[in-house]
Amino acid sequence: MPGGYMGKILRVDLTTGSMKDENLPEEPLLRRFLGGQALATYILLRELPLDAKPFGAESKVVMMTGPITGTGFTPGGTKVTAVYLSPLTEYTLGRGAASGFWPVYLKAAGYDGIIIEGVAPRPTYLFINEGKAELRDASRVWGKGARETEDLLREDVGFKDAKVMCIGPAGENLVRAAMLVNDYNHNAAHSGGAVFGSKKLKAIVVCGTARPRLHDKARLIEAGVRWQSATRFQYTIAKKMTAGKGLDLEAIPNLNFRSSLIADHARGFDQNRVTLRPCFQCPRLCPWDVEIGEGPRKGVVGHFNAGSEWLDTFFNLGIKGNEVLYLAEKINDLGIECSHFSCGVAVAFEAWEKGLLGPEQTEGLRFEWGNVEVVDRLLDMAARREGRWGNLFAEGPMQVAEAIGGDAPQWVVHTKKGTPALHDWRPHLGHMIREIVATGGMKPQGAGGTGMAKPAPDLRYREKWGPLDRDDATGWPWSHILTEQYRQFCGIIGGCWFAQNDNKPDGLKSIVDCLSATTGWNFDLDEALLAGHRSMILQSLFGTQRGWIAEHDWQHIGRRFIEPIPDGKFQGFTIGKWLPEMVYEYHRLSGRHEKTGRPFMDTLITLGLEEFKEWAQLD
């Protein structure tokens, strides 16, 4: 067996309680799929019935680490990816990836991945300890938030070092975008939690002492040091006291994306006490804890990661300062993906502002921008599907808009009924392509970005263009495909793409060399990009099988998301003027038909995916 792998997948049938160890695929297949989303999607493609429903008993969740997860010698060697039929779109691949420590300890417990099937008869948690798995009663923690669940389950199993991946009340109540939460600060966001909830699976606790065999440890250490040099960026405490990613994007969503101005959103943050809590052996220092230092929430502790979607989530609702951190901690503890909540509530608040909703329709709750009390209450209601509005916010922003009626459906920010990561991406072509096409799913794995204007330095041997112009559509789709390929590659080998810096020489090559040193395979950049492309097409095939077509990418977008930006530095800009051509070109260049999204036979042959020829574009 190649280095990096533990060699076993655990298959759990929650209905019968049976558990089985299975082998990883044989090496030729393993080298093609590697792990993570690609291997997990391949398994799901072969096993999930075409008429399965997201919350049905026949639904499955496949969780898979990669060969570099948990070696200890690379930055970002921390990932597990979970795939399932998306409860948000109901016809594309749902995907969430988590970092922190749980993925490392899944391998320490002896497994590369887990396949979860069936429905448990009562609230249950899975406990894997040193290669032995058992299902245990979770009634003590059912109903509890993610933080308390972690603490109680660690106590329950009696191992201080045990790691917990769990759902909060949102997952239990099948909130459509409920998250998996692990190691306090981390999430596999995007609805895996809801599928767990439908299976009455509260948590997976892992514990163990094994480490993967490494093919060439000295070479891996060397390549890891190179990766670390390329990554170079490191979060500081000071950076955690700002308004977050909105500053990099130069736009913050306000009032349901009707203003992108940045103001005093971060007021009071400088009074807080911040602690950096890095993921396993990663020097980027993304995760952080905060103790609020001023105001009515003084003393409240929050556990966050990088990304800051949960800041923009509440900025979007007209809230600023430390109240945002209080609410963000709450939404993470409840386990709701923040964008799902924000986009739904924002439509309702806009409806209230415009007179479409009044207190008679909202059971007396004042749906006002900046009303912290009401947002606090709505969080609890959404997590538990309490009342008409709790249920609507749990369902999603499209459902909220349809219930309100009138012009409300035009105000929803959504992509194929799911929500983009909650930031104002609209000023940036690269980010917007990513959110719209999402690799043929609904949620993209990294990719896109502002740095796509020139080829990554490591790709200059085969890519010659740039810098691309933000006022000209030419070249952006191909650039995006490349970033999708190398971000997917990073993810499927078990790496975190936040730690992948394509802007520096050796930024990509070092990661490829880490894989080679770990496994013993001799990968080069071309094979790596091919593996990434393969992963994209697998995700696309999953959607094709269930009715997704490429046209949906640009047709099923919330109008608000592609309206011209109303104000600020990028006033008037929108990707809208280049739709659908940009989406067509993206699909063509990725080897798929521009309208159906089906891969051409040539594409399947190049990627070694002929077994899916039934779903190919045959004319």
């Binding site: 200890g72 010698f73 191992f159 070092d161 306090y184 002492t209 480490r211 950096l276 809590r277």
Partner: protein
């Protein structure tokens, strides 16, 4: 025999004979424990608990709580004393003080008598439950001999750990202490160690050991253990013979073991 260490601590040389020191700056430490994992990764230790010292876990960060849940952190690992009591009490001279700084327990020679475990004033030596030998941090002597720094040092993401020649590190530590209104720890304890901590709050707040300043500090090897060693085959017959051999050729060393209250120059 190295005159610096008094009589009969086994000494040796790895590289160039120049002493090196590890600097631990608690004012920078975030308690992430990447140093702890790095040590395990370098030495291929199983992923045993990071909250307690063991044969496969050679560093802990105190207090033993989840990362992020304390505002003060202190490293707990071998101090690589200048006058190592563990080396002094070992009946088979299995512990060597290298001139470059590391104190190393030879895993072949060790007979598992546990004297060093009791003698260590910091309590950082443990018994491996696999090999039944004493084990502790080696200051990565295998890396130091190649003029590289210990793996924990190169792993620290915030620069709380540094490594270098004793003089340079001492100067740096003093400067850090001054800049932060802190003080040094590990420079005088037990007569001096190769670990320098920069601390700011009270020692008790960090949970560091209150070790005195005298060399070869007092220790207590349980009488019961010593009697068992003298009158039973506790650590094997060959071990006994070897211990007897060393007792005969180096009788002065017995002072370290049986009369620890006598001050030794």
């Amino acid at each position: 025999m190295n005159p610096k260490y008094g009589s009969l601590i086994p000494t040796s040389r790895l590289l160039d004979g120049k002493p090196r020191t590890i600097l631990f700056d608690s004012t920078k430490c975030i308690g992430c424990r990447q140093c702890v994992h790095a040590c395990k990764d370098w030495h291929d230790h199983r992923r045993t608990s990071i909250y307690e010292l063991s044969g496969t876990n050679w560093i802990t960060m105190e207090p033993p709580v989840l990362e992020g849940l304390s505002s003060l952190w202190a490293r707990n690992s071998c101090m690589h004393c200048e006058f190592p009591m563990c080396a002094a009490v070992c009946p088979v001279e299995a512990i060597t003080k290298y001139e470059e700084g590391p104190v190393g327990i030879n895993q072949e020679t060790c007979i598992g008598c546990e004297y060093c475990i009791y003698a260590c004033p910091w309590g950082v030596i443990t018994m491996s439950d696999v090999t039944h030998k004493a084990a502790k941090c080696t200051m990565c002597s295998d890396r130091v001999s190649g003029d590289k720094s210990p793996f924990c040092v190169q792993a620290c993401p915030v620069g709380a750990l540094e490594f270098g020649l004793e003089e340079a590190i001492s100067a740096k530590a003093s400067k850090c202490a001054q800049e932060n209104g802190g003080y040094l720890y590990g420079d005088k304890e037990a007569g001096g160690t190769q670990l320098l901590y920069v601390l700011k709050e009270k020692k008790e707040d960090y949970g560091v050991c209150p070790v005195g300043l005298e060399r070869y500090p007092r220790h207590k090897i349980p009488l019961g253990l010593m009697l068992k060693d003298l009158f039973t085959l506790r650590y094997g017959f060959t071990g006994k013979i070897r211990a007897l051999y060393f007792a005969i050729i180096h009788p002065q060393r017995l002072i370290y073991r049986y009369w620890p209250w006598r001050s030794v120059a």
